[in-house]
């Protein structure tokens, strides 16, 4: 209750009357609205916003029956069967760092010429140990494609079996890679409007880039789901007993990848002498920091966190997060900075788990976060083609 009241106090009086005009006279959505959704959302009530301020893109989230806990949402969200997105993608590697020759693999869906350049292009970035094949990436891609957008599903370095495309590891600070992908396709197709979507670690990356870029064209909007903007608390939360399941799975994948990198680049990586890796913080301290130019894990967490730059975000930006997310921890000072930025719409739901948001509503609303992200992007960019 105290937290809710404090959020309400922060929000009151801080609702801006207008957004920066990025889209010209056709802009359909021109009013920023900081939304903190509490458990009352199940009664279609949004607290902490003035009456009538609920934006059209935001529907109520009611967790699927029986999935009221964050753990259940998170786990079931990874297993719930769903139809695959069958539209074939164009696979292309994009050079992101000429200095060391690092490239990333992108799977893209392009609308036909001559509309391509004018359509909204959405670059999606997955979470830790995910890929362009991740279910949520495919889910949003299908919706965006149906809405008439170009969609680029980017793999972070090494992900989706691309270890040979870069001598480096990947980490949360590589927002420049996302920028390089945007620049590459913008130059190639003359794209006029680009939006970014990121889940979890990918959410941190796109928010970090948005803060670094400010109003730089062609970036027009950002949407994130459960972004890991405060890296240190999130990493430590993963080591809590209740979260060992997730930490174990992350660590197992990361260590397999590290051993693979050592096989591919034996002069660069040594697996001997690393010692036991018992937590994500251990991994970040002994491997990421050592091989990626950080002093230690804390230095990495500080320098790579989007929390440092969220006040510089200058385009409409959605941040969805759940209060029962097992391991994403939004720090009070970060929340205050998000709320203070008139370009950011922060939606905090009582339920949803980590990147799951399995809703009781049927059909397209079952994956509530995906539906909300797409509605948000359509609203703030005025995109309407396939809807």
């Amino acid at each position: 209750m105290a937290e809710r009241l404090s959020v309400a106090q922060d929000v009151e009086g801080s609702i801006p009357s207008s957004r920066p005009n990025l889209h010209g006279p056709q802009q359909l959505y021109s009013r920023a609205c900081r939304v903190s959704v509490t458990s009352q959302i199940s009664e279609n009530t949004i607290l902490d916003t003035p009456a009538g301020a609920k934006p059209a893109w935001l529907n109520s989230f009611v967790p699927q029956r029986g999935l009221g806990s964050g753990h259940l949402q998170t786990i079931v969200g990874n297993f719930l069967p769903r139809p695959p997105f069958r539209h074939s993608a164009v696979a292309e590697t994009v050079l992101v760092d000429p200095a060391d020759g690092s490239s990333v693999l992108c799977h893209s869906h392009w609308q036909p010429e001559p509309q391509r350049a004018g359509r909204l292009t959405v670059v999606q970035v997955h979470g830790l140990e995910g890929s362009s094949d991740s279910r949520y990436i495919q889910g949003i891609a299908a919706r965006l494609w149906a809405a008439g957008c170009n969609v680029v599903c980017m793999n972070m370095r090494n992900c989706n079996d691309t270890d040979a495309l870069t001598p480096t590891l990947y980490h949360s600070g590589l927002s420049g890679d996302v920028g390089a992908v945007v620049d590459h396709f913008t130059a190639r197709f003359g794209l006029r409007r680009v939006a970014l979507v990121g889940y979890s670690m990918g959410g941190n990356l796109v928010l970090k880039l948005a803060g670094e870029w400010g109003q730089r064209a062609p970036l027009v909007a950002v949407a994130t789901v459960c972004p890991a903007v405060d890296l240190a608390p999130g990493s430590d939360a993963l080591h809590e007993t209740a979260n060992r399941l997730y930490e174990w799975r992350f660590l197992r994948g990361l260590m397999r990848r590290f051993r693979r990198k050592a096989e591919l680049f034996p002069n660069r990586y040594q697996t001997e002498g690393v010692g036991p890796i018992r937590s994500l913080r251990d991994f970040d301290d002994k491997i990421v920091a050592r091989y990626c130019g950080f002093r230690d894990a804390d230095d990495y967490y500080y320098r790579a966190a989007a929390a440092r730059v969220v006040d510089q975000i200058a385009v409409p930006t959605l941040i969805l997060c759940a209060k029962d997310d097992p391991f994403i921890r939004l720090q009070p000072n970060t929340r205050a900075r998000l709320i203070a930025n008139p370009n950011i719409d922060l939606v905090e739901t009582q339920h949803g788990g980590h990147c799951a948001y399995l809703s009781r509503d049927p059909g397209n609303e079952t994956h509530w976060a995906e539906a909300t992200v797409v509605r948000y992007l359509m609203a703030v960019t005025g995109e309407r083609h396939g809807c």
């Binding site: 009221g68 786990i75 297993f79 719930l80 007993t241 174990w248 799975r249």
Partner: protein
Amino acid sequence: MDADWEVEIGGGAPVIEANWQGFIDLRANPERVGEICEAASFPPLTALLLGLNGAHSPVWTAKCDLWEPEEAAGSSSLACYVDLLPVEGMVFAEWQQAEEFCRDFVKRLAQAGPSDCSVELVIRQAIAGATEGFAITAYISAAGTDRAAAATALTAALADFVDALPPSMPPRTAASKLQ
């Protein structure tokens, strides 16, 4: 991982009744896993059940439980069991088929890396609706210096268990196909 298998058939040995009163078909309704209180209290067991009942899994599950066995002072352990049945045929038509599956599974589990845990597979008679045959109860246990350490070890063991699952069932013998 320490893994082994055995057969318990006849002589008052338990029989697996797959479609028991509280059975929830997680293949058709994975979202109902929250109704299984044993799993809800231990998220790694939730992940195990959904993994075992996943689209590409060769097995389905009928029943599970989680408990804390008594341990000597200074240590703690956590254990669970889960009944495994083949997707094809609903039950193993012959115990030799179940045996072959267990042998393969145990071999894979033994290669699943060092862990403070053990797996025991027990072949039992089973009934699934009108079909009679054989199924497997898998007992998975882990130990640690305290409950948190035991829970961490069991978390790892359950993840390894799903990963070590043979990708397909051994073929039935010619004799059983004629039945």
